[in-house]
Amino acid sequence: MEVSSYVRPRSLDEAYTLLTQKNAFVIGGGAWSRMSLRRVETAIDLSLLNLRFIKKTDTYIEIGAMTTARELETSSELEKTFGSLFKDTVAHIVGVQMRNIVTIGGTVAGKYGFSDLNTTLLALNARIVPYNGEAVDFEQFLLESHKEAFLIEKIVIDTFDTKGAFQSIRNTQGDFSILNVAAAKAGGSWRIAVGARPGAARLAREGAKVLEGHDTIELDLAEKAAKVAAQELSFGKDLRADAAYRQNVCLPLVRRAIMEVAE
C-alpha cells in the first residue's frame, strides 16, 4: 500500500473529519497493507481513541472497533456469554501473531468473503455503530455500499438468551474456510449465516424458518433446515472448491451448527 500521509487523530471527531477528505482510509490492523495495491492519501490510525474494549451489560455486549481477534479469542466476557463461540470463530486466523493485529472493525469494514468472524457476527445479528450516525444491522451493512464517510466505532450484540455455534471446513488449520457457518438462537428466533461461499456471509432465512416454533430440535429437523439452507443460498467457485462442493458441504455444517446450539 502506498501512503502519502499517516495520521493519528486524537478524537473521533478529528478522525471522522479526516475520513471525509478525498482518498482517506481507516487502518484497522493494517494486516493487508503489504499486499494491497491501494494508493491512500491519508491513512487514519485510530490507536489513540480507546476503541479496544469489550463491555458487557445485562442485555448486550459492545466491542470497540480496534479490538483485536486475539482479544476476542481470549475474552472472558465473551466466553461467559457465548461459550467457545468466538474462540472457535477466530481460532483459524493464521496464528496468534496475526490475531494480535487484525481488528473487528477492519474485518467488518472489509466485508471479506473469507471472513469467519463476519459470519458469526451476522448470525448474532450484530449492529455496526458508526461515529456520528445511526447503527446499522450487519446484514444491511454487508449488502449496502456507503457513499458518505462511515467510521465504525463499535459493534453491539444483544445477548439476552442468545447462544451460537460456528462450523467450518478448510484444508490446513490456518487456511481460509472453504465454507463457514454460524447458527444462533436468540430467545425463540433462529439465524443461520453461511460465509466463504466464496462470497461474503448471507443469512439462510428459509432454513431458519424451518426451526421456528420448535422448542427442542431433533436431528432430522436440523437436517431438514440445513437442506433448505443449502438450497436457498448461492455458491461459487474459487481456488479451493467449486459451487457443487460448497453446496454439498453446507448441509452437514449447518446441521452440526444447529445441533451444537440446540443441545
Binding site: 484444508n171 490446513t172 481456488l239 472448491a241 462442493y245 448441509l251
Partner: protein
C-alpha cells in the same frame, strides 16, 4: 552388528544451533553489505512470447538507478542450471536473458539500483512489448504440439538423453527386462491404472538469495543460498564465459533446500551487475518469485500395469511415465529415471519389468530437483497399484508386500540397468531390514487386516493404510566427495570439506565421523565447509549423498591422518612408522618405551622440531561403487469425515532402515521433516494455474504447507541395521521419509470408503466427490 561407538550414534548438538536460534547474522541477505546494489528482475507476464522491445528510458530516470540489462547486453551461451555432475544429463536449453520467454515469470531484463525502493521503482518503469505466442499448458498435449517451445538452434544435450526439442521432448528413456506384455497377458490377475502427481513447491523458508562482489584480486565472489557450490561455480563460469579460477562460491547458512537450491538460480543476475559495475550486488527473491520463477517438483502421469498369480506372486510390473519439466529441462531425465530406479527394485522377484516414457516441455514453471526426486511420484503410483492388486486378490496389502518385496542379500536387475541418466551399477543389497520395518510398523499402528477401517461416530471413519519405500545413498561412480584434515597446535584438527550443510547438520555429523575414526572428541574437530576457494570438492547436498559419500571421504581422510601422525611421531622416536600407535590421545611405540601426546606433537611440529617441522595434513576422497538403499515402511491412521471429505492424519508410523544413524536425533528429524512434506503433498499442497498459464497458487496464503496443528502425531523408529560399505554402517536418511505418505494415505482412504483416488492432493472436494462416486457404484 554390535558396535560400540564413542562419537557416532550420539545425539551431538548441531554446532550452529545456538547461533541460529539467537538470531546471529548467518544467511546470505544478512551478510550482504549494506551498500550492495539491489537487483530486480523484470519478468514475463505471458506464458510464451517473443520480446519485441525493452525500453528502460523511464527506469533510468529514477534517482538511484544504476544499470539495466536485457538479452542484447549478455553473451548468448546456452547452459543448464541443473546442479549435477559433468556432463550434465540435462539439456543446455537456458540463456541468462533471451529474446523469448517461456513461462509466466521468465526473466526478461534486470535493473540494479542503490536500494530496494529505487530498484523496485525502476523495475516498474521498464516497458516491454511482446509478441504473444501460443502456449502449451497441458503436458498431455505437449508432445508433437505444433507450438515448439525450444526451437533455438544452439541448445543441445551433453550426451544422448532422448532430447527432441522440436517435439517438445526434453528427454526420453525406455528399458525392459524380460517380456512384460507376454507376462501380463498370461497373468491370472492383473491391474492397470493411471496416477497423477502435482508439481509440489519446496517452500524452503529462506527465499533464493545471492550476493556478489569483486575481491581485492578482482575475482568474482558469490555468496549464495546453494546446495552445490562446486556445480554452481562450474555452471556460472559456463554461463558467463568466465574461467573458473576467477570465481569463488561460498555457501553460508541457508534457510532450507530440499532440492530448491540444487540449481543455479539468481547468481548470474547478481554476478552480471557486479561484473559490469565493479560493485557488490544482491538478488533477494520474493516468495511470489520463488513460487513462480524458481523450480517445482515434476508433475507426472504414471501408468502402471501389474500382473500376478492368483496367490499373490507378482510376475510383471510395467511403468510408463509422462513427466512435465516445465519451460526448461533441468533434472528432467534423472528425476524421471529415479521414478523407476528407486521403486521397481522393491519388488525384485518379477519375471519381467518395463519402465519408460518421456519428459516434455510446457510453458509452465520449470521443474527441477526436489526431495524424493521422482521416487516419491513413482512410489505413489506403484504403492497405490500394489494395494489395488491386493484388493483384487482379496489379500492383506501387507501380506502381498511380504510375499514380493526385496530382502537382504538379494539384488534386482533394475540396479544394473537404470542409473543416473544412463546405466546403473549392479548391487547386492547388503543391508535391508524391510521385513523388520513392516513387522514393527504393523505392531506400532496395530494393523489388523480384518479391521483396517471402523466408524468412530456417525459419518466419521478411522482407517489405516501403508506403503513401503526405498531411496539411494549417493549416485555410484558419479558423486564424489573429499575432505582435508589438518593438525593444529593445541592438538585439534581443521576439517575442510565441500559437503554442504543445508541446516541438516552435516557439518556436525561429519565431524562426528572424523572424530570416531581418529579416536578423538567431536570438539577437537573444527569444521569449515562449502567454499570453493578453501574446501575440497564435493558434489553437494543431494541424492542423499552426504552421509554416505562425504562421510566415507572423511573416514579416508582420518585414516590417512592417523598414518601421517604415526609417521611424524616415528621421525621423532627414530623408529619405523609401523612401530607407532595412536589411541586418539597419545602416540607411542609398540613397546611403550616412547610416548608423546597429540598436543605436544602438534606444538613440536609447528615450532620446535627444526628441520622436521611440518604441517600434518591428510586428505580423502570417496566415490561409491554402489548406492545402498535406505528402506522404510510407512503406516498411517487417518480419520475421514464422510460428509465433508476432510482427511486428518492421526498418526504416521515410520520404521526406517538407514543403517547406522550417525546422529540419531538428526536422523529422526530428517524422517519427521520428510513425512510432513510428503503429507503436505498428499493432502494440502495444491497447484493451480489460470487458463493463461499464470500460477494462481503463488503465495503461502493459497499454497498451504502443513502447520503444526495439522498432523496429530508422528512415530519414527529406526531398525537395527548395518551397511558394510557405509561410514560406520550408515546409509542415507535425507529423502526416504518423504516417499510413503502419498500412497499410504490414498490406501487408507480406499480402506475406509472403497474410493480409489489416483490424483493429488487429496483435498476435501476431491475426496468427497470420490467417496460419493464409490458409494453409488
Amino acid at each position: 552388528m554390535d558396535k560400540h561407538f564413542n562419537e557416532v550414534g550420539k545425539a551431538r548438538p548441531k554446532i550452529d544451533g545456538k547461533g541460529l536460534v539467537t538470531g546471529r547474522p548467518a544467511y546470505t541477505d544478512d551478510l550482504a553489505c549494506g551498500d550492495a546494489l539491489v537487483v530486480k528482475i523484470i519478468r514475463s507476464p505471458h506464458a510464451h512470447a517473443r520480446i519485441i522491445s525493452v525500453d528502460t528510458s523511464d527506469a533510468q530516470k529514477v534517482s538511484g538507478f544504476v544499470l539495466a540489462l536485457s538479452s542484447k547486453d549478455v553473451k548468448r551461451i546456452p547452459f543448464t542450471r541443473a546442479g549435477q555432475g559433468h556432463p550434465e544429463p540435462s539439456p543446455h536449453d537456458k540463456f541468462i536473458l533471451d529474446e523469448y520467454v517461456r513461462y509466466v515469470g521468465d526473466e526478461v531484463a534486470i535493473v540494479a539500483a542503490i536500494d530496494e525502493e529505487s530498484a523496485a521503482e525502476a523495475a516498474r518503469l521498464v516497458k516491454v512489448t511482446y509478441e504473444v505466442l501460443d502456449a502449451v499448458l497441458d503436458f498431455e498435449e505437449a508432445m508433437d504440439n505444433p507450438t515448439v517451445i525450444h526451437p533455438e538452434p544452439e541448445i543441445h544435450d551433453m550426451f544422448p538423453i532422448g532430447f527432441e526439442p522440436k517435439r517438445n521432448i526434453a528427454a526420453a528413456y525406455a528399458m525392459e527386462i524380460g517380456d512384460v506384455e507376454k507376462v501380463l497377458e498370461s497373468s491370472e490377475v492383473s491391474i492397470k491404472a493411471s496416477y497423477h502427481t502435482q508439481a509440489q513447491a519446496h517452500v524452503a523458508l529462506e527465499p533464493h538469495t545471492a550476493y556478489t562482489y569483486l575481491d581485492l584480486h578482482g575475482r568474482l565472489n558469490v555468496v549464495t543460498s546453494t546446495q552445490n557450490p562446486f556445480h554452481t561455480r562450474r555452471l556460472l563460469g559456463q554461463a558467463l564465459d568466465m574461467p573458473l579460477r576467477n570465481i569463488r562460491i561460498q555457501k553460508p547458512r541457508i534457510g532450507g533446500g530440499f532440492g530448491a537450491k540444487q540449481h543455479l538460480h539468481v547468481e548470474p543476475y547478481a554476478a552480471l551487475v557486479t561484473l559490469k559495475t565493479g560493485k557488490p550486488a544482491k538478488v533477494v527473491l520474493s516468495r511470489k518469485e520463488v513460487f513462480e520463477a524458481t523450480f517445482s517438483r515434476h508433475q507426472m502421469r504414471i501408468d502402471v500395469g501389474i500382473g500376478a498369480t492368483r496367490d499373490g506372486h507378482i510376475r510383471a510390473i510395467d511403468m510408463h511415465v509422462l513427466s512435465n519439466t516445465g519451460a526448461y529441462g533441468e533434472h528432467a531425465l534423472t528425476v524421471f529415471m529415479v521414478g523407476g530406479s528407486k521403486t521397481l527394485p522393491l519388488y525384485n522377484k518379477v519375471e519381467a519389468v518395463r519402465f519408460g516414457g518421456q519428459i516434455v516441455y510446457t510453458n509452465k514453471v520449470p521443474a527441477g530437483a526436489y526431495r524424493g526426486y521422482g521416487a516419491i511420484q513413482g512410489n505413489f503410483a506403484l504403492e497405490s497399484a500394489i494395494d489395488e492388486l491386493a484388493a483384487k486378490l482379496g489379500m492383506d496389502p501387507v501380506e502381498l508386500r511380504k510375499k514380493n518385496m526385496i530382502a537382504e542379500g538379494q539384488t534386482s536387475e533394475v540396479f544394473k540397468i537404470m542409473g543416473e541418466g544412463g546405466e546403473g551399477v549392479e548391487m547386492i543389497v547388503e543391508s535391508c531390514k524391510l521385513d523388520y520395518c513392516v513387522k514393527r510398523g504393523c505392531r506400532l499402528i496395530d494393523w489388523l487386516p480384518s479391521r483396517l477401517a471402523y466408524e468412530v461416530a456417525p459419518g466419521r471413519i478411522r482407517a489405516k493404510g501403508m506403503a513401503i519405500a526405498m531411496q539411494g545413498s549417493g549416485i555410484p561412480l558419479i558423486d564424489m566427495g573429499s575432505a582435508n584434515l589438518e593438525l593444529q597446535d593445541d592438538g585439534f584438527f581443521k576439517l575442510h570439506m565441500g559437503a554442504t550443510d543445508l541446516g541438516t547438520g552435516s557439518d556436525t555429523i561429519l565431524a562426528q565421523i572424523a572424530a570416531e575414526e581418529l579416536g578423538v572428541d567431536s570438539d577437537d574437530i573444527i569444521v569449515y565447509a562449502s567454499d570453493t576457494d578453501h574446501t575440497p570438492y564435493d558434489v553437494g547436498a543431494y541424492a542423499s549423498s552426504t552421509t554416505y559419500v562425504s562421510g566415507n571421504a572423511v573416514i579416508r581422510a582420518a585414516q590417512n591422518m592417523k598414518k601421517e601422525l604415526c609417521a611424524a611421531a616415528a621421525t621423532k622416536f627414530s623408529v619405523d612408522a609401523d612401530q607407532v600407535e595412536f589411541d586418539g590421545k597419545e602416540l607411542r611405540t609398540k613397546d611403550g618405551s616412547k610416548t608423546i601426546t597429540l598436543k605436544e606433537l602438534s606444538f613440536d611440529l609447528l615450532y620446535h622440531d627444526g628441520l622436521n617441522m611440518k604441517t600434518v595434513n591428510a586428505s580423502g576422497s570417496f566415490s561409491g561403487e554402489k548406492s545402498p538403499p535406505p528402506y522404510m515402511a510407512g503406516f498411517v491412521e487417518v480419520e475421514i469425515d464422510l460428509e465433508t471429505g476432510k482427511v486428518d492424519v492421526l498418526d504416521y508410523v515410520a520404521v526406517v532402515d538407514c543403517g547406522t544413524p550417525i546422529n540419531p536425533q538428526l536422523a529422526k528429524i530428517q524422517v519427521e521433516g520428510g513425512l510432513l512434506q510428503g503429507i503436505g503433498m498428499a493432502l494440502y499442497e495444491d497447484v493451480q494455474y489460470t487458463e493463461n498459464g499464470r500460477l494462481r497458487t503463488n503465495n503461502l496464503m493459497h499454497y498451504k504447507i502443513p502447520s503444526r496443528e495439522d498432523v496429530k502425531k508422528l512415530t519414527v523408529e529406526f531398525a537395527e541395521s548395518y551397511e558394510p560399505s557405509g561410514p560406520f554402517g550408515a546409509k542415507s536418511v535425507g529423502e526416504i521419509g518423504i516417499d510413503t505418505p502419498l500412497a499410504a494415505i490414498a490406501n487408507a482412504i480406499y480402506n475406509a470408503t472403497g474410493a480409489r483416488i489416483r490424483e493429488l492432493p487429496l483435498t476435501p472436494p476431491r475426496v468427497l466427490a470420490a467417496i460419493r462416486e464409490a458409494a453409488q457404484s
